[in-house]
């Protein structure tokens, strides 16, 4: 019988996914405050869904779809929130501790267009499979494979030009 993970207590799901959801939003947006807002919004939506007894199924994928959409909305409306140039100057505790190579990597990642950035973040940082990424991003597995190749090539080029 298929198990519905959304039947788990909210506190348990929150503990399980809070770190990954926030880290995803932070790498997508590069702004701790915006990442906090996105993570908070995503978990409050999960809570509301549970309250209304809506079936979710795979909570991890559901959360990342919600967080990704929230991030894309923010990226689209970025000019209303913050200058793109100022993003890399907004440090977090982890970011300030990073070595120069990591800072360069973060800058290069943020310079990628969001379709490439999100594939790198979902695969390399969050460890999703191609199949899971296809579900989250609404694409086919071959498309994910191709996107990742292009994203890595671009990331390598940006790092070399640093």
């Amino acid at each position: 019988m298929e198990t519905d993970e959304s039947q788990k207590p909210f506190t348990e799901l929150f503990e399980q996914y809070k770190g990954r959801t926030y880290d995803f939003a932070l790498r997508m947006l590069g702004d701790p405050q915006a990442a906090s807002d996105v993570a908070q919004d995503a978990f409050l939506r999960l809570f509301e869904h549970q309250q209304n007894h809506h079936r979710i199924g795979d909570v991890k994928s559901w959360l990342f779809i919600v967080a990704r959409n929230l991030c894309l909305n923010r990226i689209r409306n970025r000019s209303k929130y913050v200058s793109l140039d100022g993003l890399e100057d907004r440090p977090t505790r982890a970011h300030t501790a990073a070595d120069p190579r990591q800072r360069a990597l973060r800058r290069a990642l943020l310079s990628l267009d969001s379709p490439y950035r999100e594939t790198i973040v979902l695969k390399a940082y969050q460890g999703f499979t191609y199949q899971e990424m296809a579900e989250i991003l609404g694409k086919t597995v071959p498309a994910i494979r191709s996107l990742l190749y292009k994203a890595r090539s671009m990331l390598r080029d940006r790092l070399e030009s640093e």
């Binding site: 409050l44 809570f47 982890a94 494979r145 890595r152």
Partner: protein, 153 residues
């Protein structure tokens, strides 16, 4: 297959998302193509750099805000039953069913408060039709009094 397609396989190999026949073809190609071999080495270095990066935990103040917003909402009693506060749903259902059974039992047994029968020396109901009537305490007292008085006369 051209070099561009082989490089896509190099990327897929990093993720372990490559089929055996593709892997065999890629390894054969890498033995004879220096450009793709260099690309493979660069992607390995990039992957190592990415893997080194530590995830950033959610700040405590954000955790507290989310917990506060999900704990203090109206409708806490619903969450109590639906398991958000760690009361198992089966236990909640068992309690609800037990209460329902008690209520049904009370409705179907009208003399549930009158199971001890008449007190010693009290009035005895002899007619079956009368025995089905539910008497209040004041009725019993009045009947007893009337009977006693008539016996005295």
């Amino acid at each position: 297959m051209n070099c561009e397609q082989y490089r896509e396989l190099i990327s897929a190999r990093l993720d372990g998302e490559i089929e055996n026949r593709e892997l065999a073809a890629l390894e054969a190609h890498l033995k004879q193509c220096e450009t793709c071999t260099a690309f493979s080495r660069q992607l390995d270095q990039l992957h190592a750099l990415v893997v080194e990066s530590q995830p950033t935990p959610m700040p405590d103040e954000v955790v507290e805000t989310i917990m506060a917003k999900t704990y203090c909402r109206p409708g806490r009693w619903r969450r109590l039953v639906s398991g958000h506060y760690r009361i198992p749903r089966p236990v909640a259902w068992a309690v609800a069913v037990a209460l329902l059974m008690l209520a049904v039992d009370a409705v179907r047994s009208p003399n549930v408060f009158d199971q001890t029968g008449p007190a010693e020396g009290g009035p005895v109901m002899t007619t079956p039709a009368v025995q089905r009537i539910v008497l209040t305490e004041s009725d019993v007292v009045r009947t007893y009094t009337t009977q006693t008085v008539s016996e005295d006369l």
